[in-house]
Subunit: 413 residues, 2 copies
């Protein structure tokens, strides 16, 4: 809504930034897919089968037990930084991945989405340049948008952003009076939406360009634990501690309904992020933090996360097999994710994903068109499939349905 | 920290707004008060005695029970608007107070502090004028600050903002090219920090000026249910539905550690607030919403809230009695709150609250100096006392200690 669209009788006047705020494109698309009985590959949700209900039940009972000394602290206001036990746990986990940070650098957030909001507030002025992958996580574009930055996409391939393209872009823009980008936003592991992962060599090559140009990085890693055969290469944070802000989440390894994530920031930035956090919601729910500290005891995740990996791997296998079988003979490409939740598909020339969606829904399956994930120049032939909330049989059936409508659209028959 | 203070080797550059972000003044002050054994009247926390631990335990057990059909939905991603049952409950509660709103106007937020952040994003541009009470809630000033508005204080007395002062201020400023304030932020009930309440006549008088000048209102009501003898007058929302955004909270009637609040907005503004909410943290923790829906069943609050009122009233009585007794003969004034958590004190001429604090701490008690609660021209003689986290005996002892240091500072002896 444009401010001038408000009734002249209305006393409200919107901020300029509110003009760019509109119900998410994806939200609107997903409404199309909400038909009973549809095979839904459009969502970005983890599988509810993986939610640790029993462990949560036990943890809540412990926190709230009669005589519990933590029941009332769990229900009281708490520190904006987050619970010390949880910050310490995060630092210890990061150390296992080669990133040595102090718990004092860990800010517990209301989901990692909030981390993106806080980073935008602290680092982005109006018209600040900012770099993202092609394509990138739609929610990050939404979180950055209210601060009105100028977003540029860096050319990317199956291994993430291309170092030479990045170098050329940095060399070209800030020469005379132009601003250096405030940061580059990257999802190195099993990226949403493409499922791709930055290999070791690509991480080093991209970092070399970033260091050379003093371009800091916001590294978002919600899916890193969901690897299928081997862990991904060490995080960027481990390689350039002073140049990387790192975002992590409990949404994919425990449950998103808790809204628990974290930001790890260089010591010089931490106080600003903390102040933004305090202004935004005072603190992340202390009850949820206490419950998760209980859940994490006795190395719970060491037993729990492998079950998620095994489930998602079987679903990934089913999807790749079904795509191979049903797309045979069609000019359709797809990624080969080695972890995470998503496969990214490119349709034959002349077939647009958004135009295909109603036909797919008619045929009983749904996907998300890829266009909203691009900051610029969307490739209209792309679409995202989630493999984690469907059974192997549903995946087989869904890919058959998708292939059928692609074949009809591509072959004209 | 000024951006130029960052080491020249640092790749980070801060947003302009981050320069105004600093650890809260209150936070720093409270550190002084964190000594073992101190009688602490400085906090803004509700009494943990009032937290419904047993009801929470039962609700968590129900939500997460074996075979529960809501366990997995409670742990999954959820709608940005909030849970339908909770939105409906809020609308029904508002109807009891004479404000008839649709559940579609209710946005569930991660505490009502988040409501302030979302309102700032949607309604405030850089340099947008904005009006607040004298003094006002510090957390609101912090939530609005990142959007860089120009904040003006309206002269206020024991009944809230003064209508004639408001009228004069509105008539003076926007005459030639000046902008109309985007809104006025008010806490009509048992205000933080003063404890004062806007009486019926004052509400009508202030609203008349607002309607006349097309000045909308953000009405913050975290304490409204905590009345001691009779409910406060009907909310401003009930009187001017299209001109008021209303903020409510579960923090003071259940527990703040859940971080559950809500915003009620006119239908034209709701989609913008919703989009800002989605970008900020996707949604308020669904688990917490489901648990609170369980807690609220069978009119739990009808039995629970009266126990909070009775406790706080006895503590308010004790504080007013102790102040009357120990401050006798001193030129000290204080408010007479009829609900809420706070008494506001004005020290004798020449005695500054911030200078007195170390002496008070030395004498075994702590308060918060009033200065940080003023947007402009703080009255250095003011301080805030919370009466809800101390026993009657502690209140008596604490006020005696305060009076002793005031007497020494005022009388020079």
């Amino acid at each position: 809504m444009h401010p001038h669209d408000m009734s002249s009788a209305s006393p409200w006047r919107l901020a300029e930034r509110a003009e760019t705020m509109n119900p998410s494109a994806i939200r609107e698309i997903l409404k199309v897919t909400e038909r009973p009985g549809i095979l839904n590959f459009a969502g970005g949700l983890p599988s509810p089968e993986t939610f640790p209900v029993e462990a949560m039940r036990a943890a809540c009972a412990t926190v709230l037990a009669e005589g519990s000394t933590i029941a009332k602290p769990a229900l009281q206001y708490a520190a904006s930084e987050g619970l010390a036990e949880l910050r310490t746990w995060v630092a210890a986990e990061m150390a296992k991945q080669g990133a040595h940070v102090s718990p004092d650098q860990v800010l517990i957030t209301t989901g990692s989405q909030q981390g993106l909001d806080l980073i935008a507030k602290v680092l982005l002025d109006k018209d600040s340049p900012l770099l993202v992958e092609t394509p990138t996580y739609l929610g990050a574009l939404q979180a950055f948008a209210p601060m009105q930055p100028t977003i540029d996409s860096v050319a990317s391939d199956d291994e993430g952003v291309q170092p030479e393209a990045l170098r050329a872009q940095l060399a070209a823009s800030p020469a005379a009076g132009g601003q250096r980008p405030r940061f580059m936003y990257l999802l190195p592991n099993f990226q949403n939406p493409t499922g791709r992962t930055m290999p070791e060599a690509r991480r080093e090559a991209v970092l070399a360009v970033c260091r050379e140009h003093g371009l800091p990085i916001v590294e978002d890693n919600p899916y890193g634990e969901l690897w299928f055969d081997q862990p991904p290469p060490a995080p960027l944070l481990a390689r350039w501690p002073e140049g990387v802000i790192y975002l992590g989440s409990f949404s994919k390894i425990l449950a998103p309904g808790l809204r628990l994530g974290y930001v790890i920031a260089p010591p010089a930035l931490f106080p600003k992020l903390l102040q933004a956090k305090q202004a935004a919601d005072l603190h992340t729910p202390g009850f949820n933090q206490r419950v998760v500290v209980e859940v994490l005891k006795n190395n719970f995740l060491d037993r729990h996360v492998p079950t998620i990996r095994a489930l998602y791997k079987s679903q990934r296998d089913a999807m790749l097999a079904a795509l191979g079988k049903h797309m045979a003979g069609l000019d359709v490409q797809w990624t080969q994710p080695v972890g995470g939740m998503f496969v990214w598909v490119r349709l034959p020339e002349g077939v647009q994903a958004s135009a295909l969606l109603p036909q797919a829904v008619e045929a009983g399956m749904a996907f998300v068109p890829g266009a909203p994930f691009y900051a610029h120049a969307p490739d209209p032939r792309t679409l995202r499939l989630s493999f984690v909330t469907s059974t192997v049989a549903q995946i087989e059936q869904g890919m058959a349905a998708l292939a059928k409508v692609v074949r009809a659209a591509a072959g004209g028959g």
